[in-house]
């Protein structure tokens, strides 16, 4: 072999080494770029990326579930029934008129960073949520407190006049405007959680970025990366830490149902608990599997009519349209997850309440009502529009399909013509609140287990009414119910109001009661229970490691 040949071979060998070395080092460099974290004990797909983890700011379900792990209120929710049980407060006394609550805090409460939690911290947290400068969307959850609404509106400047005071380091006195049957439920709601005063005062709106972040709940915030993950680590100083089941929990934000299902099927995640993350195309198959759990949920899908426009100002027209909807067909053909047709607004199963019967599907009666209203066979009935929002991300086109179905039912049964208008989310919200529509897709999910959260919004001028419907009898009934301490009398007032809403006046047509869907393997995961609020406190959940 000549020298030049040998040199050539050497050069090509060197080149090969260089190139392959380059690839290996690039690979190593990439591996270095990504993080090395211990694996989580439990990985959960939690729905959308949380907008915030500040209990005073959050409004949505994904936020609520993460925050439930980090902070706690005077009460917390029972994992099975979602009814309030003692949280930071170990007991309480309620005055006979239902206006004054005396909460006794546990004496062993500390932040995850070691400082004690006292009643002043609770007073601070509630006042902070009400403070206009905090900008809390859900400050209304505290408006049941004396002077709270005026303080939030800036009409009262002195926080000491708001109905919450520290009597001593372990006792909080709360004064309400009216007896409020669901106040203990509210105490388990994030807006009323206890948050760390010192951290907030020294870091302002960026306080959640502080590490270690003082937390009052069963978990600490180990990491929070946008659209990546929230990592929670067990808080050993939590008062009930002995019963916290998992050490590390990862909450993943995933937007696409198919991606969620793939991750689950490949074993990369243990639990998915967002109904929107079930691919609707596969529901028929998935719902028959033992690891898919559908259950009744505190949410209703309904139609709003704009009663300020003709012909929807006539209750006969609204009732006719309501009775021409075959709701069974909607749940069978479109939603398909075991939803039940709804004839009233408040879902079944709400505490201490049974709804009155609403309008049933009755095409003959519907036709007759329409002709009484002056539109026999739909003649001269003006063409009207139905607005609905575009499905976000990879979500299914349920709204669109319901709209098409309604259009056909109303045309076939009543001979009226409806135009469909699909709007982008924010445009849709604007059109609805400005009453710039004839009929509109709507839905409502209850904040707490009480008829008030559904019926309160249709009082005159409520920001969520959005129908233009004003009824003094209805307003009076809701007001009376709000002040009535007796459970049974209160329920009957609500029943009369709801009958007015869904049967006699019908500014809305309830269509479907939502179901919640969780998916996880019951042989491997324990501690997730299905309840009306779809609430699953993290500290009870654990993975069983089988040999």
């Amino acid at each position: 072999m000549t020298f030049s040949k040998r040199a050539k071979r050497f050069v090509s060998l060197a080149r090969f080494c260089l190139i392959s070395g380059g690839w290996v080092s690039a690979w190593l460099c990439l591996s270095g770029c990504v993080r090395h974290e211990p694996p989580a004990d439990l990985t959960i797909i939690n729905g959308a990326e949380p907008e915030s983890l500040d209990p005073a700011i959050i409004t949505g379900q994904p936020e609520l579930r993460a925050v439930q792990g980090l902070f706690e209120g005077l009460t917390r929710l029972d994992p099975k029934t979602a009814r309030p049980i003692p949280g930071l407060a170990e007991r309480w006394e309620i005055s006979p008129d239902g206006l004054v609550y005396l909460f006794h805090l546990r004496t062993n409460l500390v932040w995850s960073t070691g400082e004690p939690i006292r009643s002043e911290d609770l007073v601070y947290s509630w006042i902070r949520a009400l403070n206009p400068a905090t900008g809390s969307d859900y400050a209304g959850q505290l408006f049941y407190l004396k002077n709270a609404e005026d303080f939030n509106a800036g009409k009262i400047k002195d926080p000491a006049r708001v109905g919450v005071h520290a009597v001593d380091p372990f006792t909080v006195r709360v004064e309400l405007n009216h007896p409020t049957a669901f106040f203990l439920d509210l105490c388990a709601f994030p807006t009323l959680y206890v948050v760390p005063r010192q951290t907030i005062e020294s870091h302002g709106d960026r306080w959640l970025m502080v590490r270690p972040l003082p937390s009052s709940g069963p978990y600490e915030l180990a990491a929070w990366r946008l659209n990546d993950k929230i990592r929670l680590k067990k808080n050993p100083r939590y008062w009930d830490a002995a019963n916290t089941q998992s050490e590390i929990i990862d909450l993943l934000p995933v937007g696409s149902p198919i991606t969620s299902l793939n991750l689950y099927e490949n074993g990369q995640v243990d639990i998915i608990w967002d109904k929107d993350l079930v691919p609707v195309e596969l529901l028929d198959v998935l719902l028959h599997r033992p690891d898919f759990h559908a259950f009744n949920y505190l949410g209703t899908y309904f139609i709003r009519f704009n009663v300020t426009r003709k012909p929807f100002d006539d209750p006969r027209v609204r009732r006719a349209l309501a009775m021409a909807v075959d709701k069974n067909r909607l749940v069978r053909k479109i939603t398909k997850a075991g939803e039940r047709p709804a004839s009233h607004l408040v879902p079944d199963g709400v505490a201490h309440y049974t709804s009155p019967a609403g309008l049933e599907y009755d095409p003959d009666q519907a036709r007759q009502l329409l002709s009484e209203a002056g539109y026999p066979g739909g003649r001269n009935f003006p063409r009207f529009n139905y607005i609905f929002n575009a499905a976000a991300g990879g979500a299914a086109k349920i709204h669109e399909n319901v709209a098409i179905e309604l259009q056909q039912m109303w045309r076939d049964t009543l001979g009226v013509e409806m135009e469909l208008r699909q709007l982008e989310w924010k445009v849709f919200l604007g059109a609805q609140s400005r009453l710039d529509y004839d009929a509109s897709r709507s839905s409502w999910v209850g904040d707490y287990n009480d008829p008030q959260t559904f019926l309160g919004m249709f009082t005159s001028g409520d920001g969520n009414n959005r129908t233009g419907w004003k009824n003094q009898t209805y307003d009076a009934l809701i007001r009376e119910a709000g002040e009535q301490p007796d459970q049974d009398l209160r329920a009957s007032l609500f029943q009369r109001a709801e009958a007015l809403l869904v049967r006699d006046e019908a500014p809305i047509v309830p269509l479907i009661f939502y179901v919640g869907i969780n998916y996880f393997d019951t042989n491997r995961i324990q501690g997730v229970y299905q309840n009306l609020l779809d609430s699953h406190p993290l500290q009870y959940i654990r993975k069983i490691h089988k040999p």
Partner: protein, 304 residues
């Protein structure tokens, strides 16, 4: 000198872009705080608007924004209220850039090779197969291609993870899914460039001098042929670096592409303007780089 002038000129350009984005996003119906459920009192929304200065006249808001911008502060996200736009860029951009650079490398490596081969073997079976494939990947959109790749390589064969962004293995499918479209475009551009270069005068002259076909292809034709690819690289890289909504959504990658789209839907004013500016800076910067690369590749190009 020329490049300095271009650089100086880009500052007013960026200001105009930010002003346009600032005004346009506010003209869209609805606002960042519109929700499914109205707050319990109108004062609650007023408090929110006051907190983020949305109650001020628009010129004052813009002046405040530019003032903050001068300090490198893009403001607080109105949707993700615990995060600033700087946070969002700092967390998302490196991820999108990693994905983008890898996809760019993939697109160039595959595209140039395929383009070169199809041109060199013009009329042969290599040409037909290569041209067909590069046409195919240009035509098939990412939201079809990516799920197909996942189905085959992750779900069926189980060679690669289905989603997330944890190890280099997680990067393979998104890089391929994102890069294939650009690889197809690069291949087509290279092929066209090669073919026209082979007919150009300088190559004919070189051939007349008796140079071998390989030398001709590699040293002369290829150098001319990559020029269109180079000019396409600037916007391509800007496109790739700022992330892809579809790919990031399908693979659940914590990049910035998702924000680029969702911020407008959410009326997250600060994020929309911040990301528009970021995209503009990248585009201006990369175009400048492309022009510099031109002078190096083609001696005929001179900037005065």
């Amino acid at each position: 000198m020329y490049f300095l002038r271009r650089l100086a000129f880009s500052i007013p350009l960026l200001l105009v872009i930010s002003a346009l984005a600032f005004v346009l996003v506010r003209l869209a119906p609805g606002g960042p705080f519109d929700r499914d459920r109205a707050p319990a009192s109108p004062e609650i929304e007023a408090n929110l608007r006051a907190k983020y200065h949305l109650d001020e006249p628009i010129w004052k808001q813009y002046a405040r924004y530019v003032g903050d911008l001068a300090h490198g502060d893009f403001g607080v996200s109105l949707k993700y209220r615990n995060h600033t736009v700087n946070d969002i860029i700092a967390q998302g951009l490196p991820v999108s850039m990693t994905l983008g650079v890898l996809a760019f490398g993939f697109a160039l490596a595959v595209g140039l090779t395929v383009g070169f081969i199809t041109a060199a073997r013009r009329g042969g079976w290599e040409d037909y197969v290569g041209s067909f494939l590069s046409m195919l990947v240009v035509c098939v959109p990412g939201f079809v291609l990516a799920p197909l790749l996942v189905l085959v390589f992750a779900v069926k064969l189980k060679w690669l993870p289905v989603a997330l962004w944890d190890s280099p293995w997680h990067m393979v499918l998104p890089v391929v899914a994102l890069g294939l479209y650009f690889a197809g475009k690069v291949a087509r551009l290279t092929r066209e460039g090669m073919l026209s270069a082979m007919q150009s005068e300088c190559v004919t002259a070189a051939r007349a001098k008796g140079l071998g076909e390989n030398t001709l292809l590699f040293r002369h034709a290829f150098r001319l042929a990559v020029l269109p690819v180079v000019s396409y690289s600037g916007p391509m890289l800007a496109d790739l670096l700022t992330g892809s909504f579809i790919i990031e959504n399908i693979f659940q990658i914590p990049g910035i592409g998702v924000f680029l789209v969702n911020s407008s839907l959410n009326r997250d004013y600060t994020v929309v303007v911040g990301l528009a500016l970021l995209y503009a800076v990248l585009l201006v910067g990369l175009n400048l780089l492309v022009d510099a690369a031109y002078t190096w590749l083609d001696p005929r190009v001179k900037y005065e």
